[in-house]
């Protein structure tokens, strides 16, 4: 079975409704620490009869990462608890705040509300993947945030930065109003919106200059 087929299968098998039911039933989580504990399969046997962990390969930040996952596991939990990519934050667990925003094939998505199975064969980029691993050079958006001194507590920052990255890809020269619209799926409780828009405009400027 190809990756595309398996994605389709999973999406049929675990419709949004079933997915939500499954997630809610266990307290909005689908985590395991099996990678760290070396006990794969433990949770599945108890919580989702018939569900078993399965080894798949994810393409994350340009690397192939083999990982055991459950059928009902969210991408956010896989990233945080299996791949130790903890830059992707959980602020609400269900698509209300955007702290878990990642890029899937360049499009910003809430990682808390995607099944890991859905991203097989697709390129996932997290906040850890923006900085050049070899040169240490920050991405344009990250550089703009540094120059503008963006964010306060910054728990929302990874999500905003991912959304800003996707926005500039689609609209390299947004107005402040357009930027606000593009970033409206992300919540900042410090309400540092003025500075966030300054960062977005600076990022656009830096990208144009480059």
């Amino acid at each position: 079975m190809s990756d595309a087929d398996s994605v389709e299968l999973v999406e049929t098998k675990f419709s949004r409704r079933t997915f939500i039911k499954g997630v809610i039933a266990v307290g909005a989580t689908a985590s395991t620490t099996s990678q760290f504990l070396g006990r794969p399969g433990l949770a599945s046997a108890q919580t989702m009869p018939g569900a078993a962990e399965r080894l798949i390969t994810l393409r994350v930040n340009g690397q192939d990462r083999p990982v055991d996952i459950l059928p009902n596991e969210t991408l956010a939990m896989t990233l945080r608890y299996r791949l130790n990519l903890t830059g992707t934050k959980l602020g609400c667990d269900r698509a209300e705040c955007g702290a878990c925003t990642v890029l899937v094939d360049g499009v910003n998505q809430y990682a808390c509300s995607m099944l890991t199975h859905q991203v097989r064969g697709r390129a996932v980029t997290t906040i850890e993947g923006l900085q050049d691993a070899e040169t240490g050079e920050l991405s344009t958006v990250q550089q703009a945030v540094v120059e503008e001194g963006g964010f306060q507590c910054a728990f929302c920052a990874p999500g905003f930065i991912m959304s800003m990255t996707a926005m500039l890809d689609e609209n390299p020269t947004p107005t402040r109003e357009e930027a606000a619209q593009a970033l409206s799926g992300n919540l900042c409780r410090c309400a540092d919106y003025d500075k966030i828009l300054n960062c977005a405009m600076r990022a656009s400027e830096l990208a144009q200059r480059a």
């Binding site: 609400c92 001194g149 929302c156 402040r176 970033l183």
Partner: protein, 795 residues
Amino acid sequence: MAEKLIGTDIAPPDLIAKITGRAKYSEDFRRDGMVFAKLLLSPMPHCRVRGVDATRALAMPGVVGILRAEDVPQRDGPREAVLTDEPHYEGEPILAIAAETEELAAAAIEMIDLDLEPLPFVIDPLDSLRPGGPNAYSEGNRFADDEWTDVKWTEADFEAIDAGQMPDAQAVSEWSKGDPDAAFAAADVIIDEQIVHQSLTHDPMEPRSTMAYWENGKLYAHVSTQSAQRTKFGLARALDMDPENVILVAEYCGGGFGSKISGSTIMQLPAFFSRKINRPVMHRVTRAEEHYYGRARPGFQSWVKMAFQADGKCTGIDLFIVEEGGAYGSGDNGSAGMIADLVYTPQNMRFRSVSMYTNTPPKAAQRGPGGAQIISMLEPMLDKAARELGIDRYDIRMLNAPEGDVVFGPRDSTLTSVHAKEALVMGAEMFDWQGKLELSGRQEGTKVTGIGIGLSPYTAGSRGFDGLMMIRPDGKLYVHQGIGNLGTHSIADTARPAAEILGLNWDQVEIVWGNSSQGMPRSSVQAGSQTTHAHTRANHAAAMDALDKIQRLAARRMGGSPGAYSVDNGRVSGPGGSMTFAQIAQAAIAAGGAFDGHDLPEDIHPETVPAAEGLAGTGLMGVAKDNYGGEGGIYSWVAGFALVELDIETGVVDLKEYVGITDCGTVIHPRSLGAQVLGGSIQGMGMAMTQRWVFDPQYGVPFAKRFYTARPPGILDVPPDLKWGAVGIPDPQSPVGAKGIGEPPVGAGAAALTTAVADAMGGQCLCRTPLTPDIILAELEGRERAHGRLDQHVG
């Protein structure tokens, strides 16, 4: 010359970690053998646990253990414990299960058989004051001097209340000054209103997750807290252990707003649980759980009368607040009374309040506690007086706002400095108040424009904390911070005065923070906007101590008098030549004694001593208590100006313009200050309009437990061109001149909005938050509201 640091924009040193995903917040830590805790939460607002059968849960493979109320300390009276067998609000933690996975722990919780006895409950504090009304506790509704009593008002009191009057009822807290009765008798205009301010949760972006484990008798706790050093000692007290055996890691905090001042009770859970099962325990808190035990601002139900002379001067305030204190009580109302007296300077004031226990989530100080509520309630009343007297709403504020010689409150408190009027002047100019007056009331289609002003003060400082810093043999200055890192940037900004005193560039300074094993001086809690004031002073004092030691060492090594030596760019130079700070650090280590921290000042706090002892011998130590002293309270101010469009067909309010101007003394970090002024103002607007906490009065359970049901403002709720400014007049009683800023913008933003909405409605005071479309429409259409005027928790 070293660069000038105070008043410049310097990004905090942790910013790169925050934007690359490397910054570790409490839920980002992992430990071998780590298990997950899940809580069983009370499904009722008040009940007693008669029995728990966890047999099936504990038999599940992978379930590691259970923690019950009997496993954690319990205290008599309305005092919160980590777990309880008599929950006093829906969502209060009863027990916890630990398992190999969080999913499994959650599944095990579902397997527990629970026998609960439902008990009477009360959601609205007025109900608890009614004769025969229910109480939040079985023992009574008031707890003082370790005894329960029952406070009930009379039928006559409630007849007055039902008739829309302020009752002459029994208050628990009370003060008055001047002659309020005479002031009201002589008044030209009296504004008399009943006002409800809602209770609402803090909702920081980062839930209060904690991970803890024990190793060799030491507790390692990864927590989300506003104040690092104080949290370490708080946690040690809770666990009844030597504080030096607590290693607290709290490098990053994803917001607190008063809900994580020195951590919170639930933060203790993984520590107790880990001690019991001998495994590292992660407790990941969900958003819904944040709404239960994550703390909330107390609600107010109030009666207010304000007396005015014909010229607009406020001459009297009569204020009676019933406070919704939640399951464990709270005390916002006191500062509300003080601030009412401070902002309008009536000289004649009567303040009465009663704070009632209710079976709702525990309350805590929320950014601008008491002040934000009272300002957003009283400012529309001031406007009403201005309209009745034919006075401009800006002018009436200029007439009533205090100046530097103000005395206020029951004990005639004074302030170190007040520049509220300067903030109003600057704001009116930036907002163009005169020009905008022409837009007030203008209707285009279904949209009516309204403009408003909110003037909001709050405490902004404290004195007497310690500073601790080292110049190490690498020639750099290491400033040890015991304060927290919750996004205000004060962790770095309060070190700037030290760097300036020692003539250093910013890249010669390292901030040491967030890990108690690295040495933290006794610090203020990072709350009440104290930090900038308190710790620029403490670091100033410690830097002066370091400078004195540098000069004395230089004179000793190179000859001449210490005073002839000066510092710049990491060198000390004088008549005998020049030494680098690296050499000075070596010289300090060689000299020992006070120079390298082996002898410590006697007046530093006992909690600073072990931290300083741990650093002794590693370089030249600057350590001192802030002995600069001072008289009077330290308050900062924000004047907020708003322009809104109210859609009279839908009741929706659209904020079009906002200007916030602050008086907070010397500006340390302009860009960060602007973020505080605007961010705090927007939080106030959320409090006044979008975040709606609603309870079911029949079952006593909350309905709004998520972001989408109690929605904080998003990026589209504010205009993309907000403006701010600062008066920038130094506080004369601090060597640095800076005051704090966190609290005051909340009341300013909320009040600018409530006054602008009232303006768009032709001056009608809705006298309630949140200003939701249904309430606005009912008022516009002359309909009865869907709830009683004084009902709490209905929206």
